[in-house]
């Protein structure tokens, strides 16, 4: 496979890396990989690189790029809110692969906030025929609460945490505490994520799957422990999508940053297997050289 840098958008303000499959056949859809939060295009612990290479091995032309003002991409000249600018830039990425590789169907891959952008792009651009949503939106079920609180009832540490860390008094006292954790690291925690109401997410899923968009929904056991904690939770929350093109993978012993080598391999492997839903085509000569 070949990796090459690409710059695109107005005055080439966006930067990315295109990974192309070995010569010959390629899938009839391209893969666009988005930033996970603020991490630049290689992804947390390089998971973006591993996914792009595995996907290219499975036939996808993959473009992983930095949204504006992240990684090596420059800031935008306008003041579009990030939700809108991200979708506009996913579209530019698809335009770029259309121009250079003759593709007109795309899968958008995102972790965390990237998954949220991928969903929005899918709603707004009919060229999106698939999305890989890793640690995106999740919704609790009665069985979730049973699994979450059940074991904690018998753990002394959980009670201690409830009393000394989560109680209103503990939260008030923490205002006067240190900005370092127990390891001497400075802490700058991200704000808590907000998910849309369940009904709106259901509507989004319905719109996409009715259009035939293939969805691979991945949850990490640890990364989403506060929202998702057992295999099958997705379809218990949304049973009407069992017979739709939705595949759900639960990577139980995996953290949000894919810190384990086997976690990264598991994610890349899931994408590789799921790729079989997309047809092969003769890979054309590249339409133009970008850099």
């Amino acid at each position: 496979m070949i990796e090459s840098p690409v710059r695109f958008g107005n005055r080439e303000y966006l930067t990315g890396i295109v990974t192309t499959p070995p010569a010959g056949l390629a899938r009839d859809a391209g893969l666009v990989i988005l930033n996970a939060g603020l991490v630049h295009r290689v992804g947390p612990n390089r998971v973006g690189v591993e996914v792009a290479r595995k996907a290219a091995g499975a036939g996808f032309v993959a473009l992983r790029f930095d949204l504006s003002n992240l990684g090596d991409s420059r800031a935008r000249a306008d003041s579009l809110p990030v939700e809108a600018s991200a979708v506009a830039e996913v579209r530019l990425a698809m335009d770029e692969l259309a121009r250079t590789h003759g593709l007109d169907r795309f899968v958008v891959f995102g972790i965390c906030s990237g998954a949220e952008h991928a969903l929005r792009a899918g709603l707004e651009d009919s060229r999106v025929v698939g999305a890989v949503l890793v640690d995106g939106y999740a919704y609790r079920t009665p069985a979730y609460y049973l699994r979450y609180y059940g074991p904690r009832l018998f753990r002394r540490a959980a009670w201690r945490r409830l009393l000394f860390e989560k109680s209103p008094l503990a939260r008030w006292l923490r205002r006067f505490g240190s900005d370092q954790d127990g390891n001497g690291h400075l802490t700058a925690q991200p704000p808590k994520r907000r998910f849309p109401p369940r009904a709106r997410f259901r509507e989004t899923l319905a719109t996409l799957t009715t259009r035939g968009v293939e969805l691979l929904v991945v949850y990490t056991g640890e990364g989403m422990a506060d929202q998702y904690n057992y295999d099958g939770q997705f379809f218990e929350a949304f049973p009407e999508f069992r017979d739709r093109p939705v595949e759900v993978v639960f990577l139980a012993a995996t953290d949000h940053l894919f810190s384990r080598q086997r976690s990264r391999a598991a994610l890349a492997g899931a994408v590789e297997r799921w790729a079989d839903r997309f047809a092969w085509r003769e890979a054309p000569e590249r339409v133009s050289v970008t850099i």
Binding site: E3, P5, L38, V42, N45, R46, V49, G71, E222
Partner: protein, 268 residues
């Protein structure tokens, strides 16, 4: 300011780099190769390095920042990592900068393990006259002990969680803060000493750290003993690599400004 991403040939496979050509009309012939740290520190400091590169180019210095083999956007897998190969990569990056821009002398700027790799590579590069050692790692054994301790803390925090899902445990792996370290890499790290005693063409060094460390003081004495003019400075925000979570958005202004100033004026 122009920024040119490209791949260039490395000893084991293509290396990814971003060139920042010097602002036109500055009339300087100085270049800088930026040697980034590894693992999570690389992710946390990427934005700071990009900012540093842009500002150095604004001050008339041709800059190349790059990823070592098996890291970032460069070819190869992390399991192929080797300190010796990475030192070679620093030399290759310097050659690339020389090939693309007519620089007469080069400053190596390294953070943490990147500083160690720069220091190990410098004696092999005649046109490297100055070096910035930002929170440098000097002794591989000590550095590895720190990494293993951090990993052990991480494992302890995860222990209850992992035990629920995988009672066999994870300890058989060599994951080192997200980096799949092989036994060969760990052995290499234990034996690694950045400073070999040879100054090569180096005449000046800036040692910058967030708080003074015994290891850095030892390194300062060793460099001075080899005839290098060392400026050792403590700048509180230099420990950017140690900031968690949203740190990829942070730029340690005071440290970056000092490095830029030193590279543009005092490094000559």
């Amino acid at each position: 300011m122009e920024m040119i991403p490209s791949y260039f040939p490395g000893g084991s496979g293509p290396l990814f780099g971003v060139r920042h050509p010097a602002a036109p009309g500055t009339g300087r012939r100085r270049g800088a190769v930026l040697c980034q740290p590894l693992g999570p520190e690389y992710v946390r400091t990427h934005r700071a390095f990009r900012h540093l590169a842009i500002q150095l180019a604004n001050r008339g210095i041709d800059v190349l920042r790059f990823d070592y083999y098996g890291s970032g956007d460069s070819a190869g897998e992390a399991t192929e990592a080797s300190l010796e190969r990475w030192v070679d990569d620093v030399c290759t990056a310097a050659a690339e900068l020389r090939r693309t821009r007519a620089v007469e002398e080069i400053v190596l700027v390294g953070l943490r393990l990147g500083a160690a790799l720069a220091l190990a590579a410098a004696p092999r590069l005649r046109d490297v006259t100055a070096i910035v050692l930002w929170e440098p790692v000097d002794d591989g054994r000590e550095h590895l002990a720190e990494l293993l301790e951090s990993q052990a803390r991480w494992e302890r925090r995860k222990a209850w969680f992992d035990a629920r899902w995988d009672r066999a445990g994870w300890n058989g792996t060599n994951d080192l803060l997200g980096f799949p370290a092989t036994p060969a890499f760990l052995d290499e790290m234990r034996a690694f000493r950045a400073w070999t005693g040879a100054a090569g063409g180096m005449r000046r060094a800036l040692l910058v750290e967030g708080e003074s460390h015994e290891g850095t003081l030892r390194l300062r004495e060793s460099l001075a003993g080899a005839g290098i003019d060392v400026s050792h400075e403590v700048v509180p925000d230099a420990r950017i690599w140690n900031v968690l979570e949203r740190a990829s958005a942070l730029i340690p202004r005071a440290t970056v400004d000092r490095v830029i100033e030193w590279c543009s004026t005092e490094a000559a």
